[in-house]
Amino acid sequence: MLITCPYCGPRDVIEFTYQGDGNRERPQPVSQDLDAWNAYVYDRLNPAGDHNEIWQHSGGCRAHLRVVRNTVTHEILSTAFARGGHKSAGHRTEGKP
């Protein structure tokens, strides 16, 4: 698998650390809604298909990326910085041949 880091270009998966489901929303720090916290910490979307997920380029620039990847074909559909405000740097990888 090759993931295209917006900083570093296409890099082998070995350089990245998977940080899981990118759809999870962290409650506000002061929130006492235990259900919301539980959902955030424990529940996962686990689709067989396109999956919005977070990867860290830990063996490179160490940026966290928001990656849309198909969990059945392992095709990477898009990558972008996870950090807000950098979305313009998002990179769409080429589609299928």
């Binding site: 998977y18 489901d21 424990y42 689709p47 067989a48 997920e53 990867w55 969990t71």
Partner: protein
């Protein structure tokens, strides 16, 4: 007279092996059953078997989307052990071990369970203490465990590098002698035949496409072979749990599906006589009766339903193998494959009633489901039959995560890829 025996082999050989019956029938699904078990893998089949055998519930269908045993029961590295740290796990897996020890007789099917031991190698004094903690925990629950020193280990596995000059020298190990390995396919087939002979319908090529409901209550399933109703619908679909639960309208679960690769070498004369694990990485190895070295390592580390692995893990596993066995550099890897692991948030399984009325859930086996096959089916059958868990699976609830009653043998928290 047992259907399978040395005598029946001889008798059938004399008649040209023409009289063997199918190991299980190929029935069409009926309109309704008392219990539908979704998933014709090891756990689903053993659930059906114990429903029939222990609880007299025989109006049961096992629905398998592909060929029977096509999931992890036929893709694992066949280790059977009960060497856990936490009592909830140890008790459950020890129950499984006891079922394993009599399984071939029980099923009249040789599942080739061979108790050749499982040895966890320790490479630092701290790790040895850690293993001692686990071994003592086992001993206090009546489970066998012993520490082995380096010379005992060398005698047991002469090919292992135990020299002090190794990058991670072997200092000792924790051995469970009653652990071992079994022939994975035989477990699926043995349970299938056992269930079939007790009246269970095993229906292959029957994929569940939705759930029939009466309000919240699950009343059956729609499948590629039509609608089938049931009083109780039980899920044992391992890596596909997320997908099937979504059909029932439950979008999120405390589960991620990951891919785990396994490898087998070409057939060799006996060289490794036990199951061995490396303490400074993720690596385990044993040798099959056919002679292939069967080994594997860590998860690929990301969600996947592809049953195919990536190259970096291949390299990692082989490197760890040679750190232990530098003499095996010229042995050749013959085949690799990937299995889907339903990784939970604490590394322990879920066997429970619900979460919807009429539904029963068995999942979260991470990469340890094979050894659990007998106890998983046994406990799940109990739970389905009695609508409450047995003592052995009572801790394995779905809500334990939310309540903080986590059973985290590795202490890694809610990061499934690290369990």
């Amino acid at each position: 007279m047992a259907e399978y025996s040395a005598f029946s082999l001889l008798k059938n050989a004399l008649s040209g092996n023409k009289d063997w019956k199918p190991a299980w029938r190929k029935p069409d699904p009926k309109a309704s059953y008392d219990v539908i078990v979704i998933g014709g893998g090891g756990h689903g089949l053993s659930t059906a078997y114990y429903l029939a055998k222990e609880h007299g519930i025989t109006n049961v269908a096992v629905l398998e989307k592909g060929w029977l045993g096509s999931g992890n029961v036929g893709r694992n590295t066949t280790a059977v052990r009960s060497n856990y740290l936490l009592p909830s796990n140890t008790r459950f897996y020890e129950h499984s071990m006891k079922l394993w020890e009599n399984l071939s007789h029980d099923l009249n099917y040789n599942v080739m369970f061979s108790q050749r031991g499982c040895l966890n190698l320790a490479h630092t004094p701290a790790q040895l203490d850690d293993y001692a903690r686990r071994g003592n925990a086992m001993r206090h629950l009546g489970v066998d465990a012993e520490l082995m020193n380096v010379s005992e280990i060398k005698r047991l596995v002469p090919a292992l590098d135990v020299s002090g000059s190794a990058r991670f020298p072997v200092l000792g190990g924790l051995m469970q002698r009653r652990a071992g390995s079994a022939r994975h396919d035989a477990v699926a087939w043995g349970y299938a035949r056992g269930a079939d002979r007790r009246g269970v319908d095993i229906i292959e090529n029957c994929e569940v496409t939705g759930f029939l409901r009466d309000g919240d209550r699950i009343t059956g399933v729609s499948t590629t072979r039509g609608e089938i109703r049931a009083k109780k619908v039980a899920l044992a679909v391992a890596g596909s749990t997320g997908r099937v639960m979504q059909l029932a309208g439950i979008e999120k679960m405390p589960i991620e599906s990951h891919v785990l690769q396994a490898f087998v070498s070409e057939s060799l004369k006996p060289i490794i006589d036990t199951i061995l694990t490396f303490g400074m990485g993720h690596f385990y190895i044993s040798q099959s009766d056919k002679g292939g070295l069967v080994y594997g390592g860590d998860l690929d580390g990301y969600n996947s339903y592809a049953q195919r692995g990536s190259l970096p893990i291949v390299d990692e596993v082989m490197s760890e193998m040679l750190a232990l066995f530098p003499g095996l550099a010229r042995v050749r890897m013959l085949r690799s494959w990937g299995g889907l692991c339903d990784m939970t948030m604490d590394g322990s399984p879920i066997i429970t009633t619900g979460p919807l009325p009429g539904m029963y859930l068995n999942c979260g086996w991470c990469y340890g489901g094979f050894k659990a096959t007998p106890a998983s089916g046994w406990c799940f059958a109990w739970t389905i039959a009695k609508d409450e868990p047995h003592e052995f699976n009572a801790p394995f609830t779905l809500d334990r995560f939310y309540r903080g009653l986590i059973i985290d043998d590795k202490g890694q928290g809610a990061t499934p890829r690290l369990h």
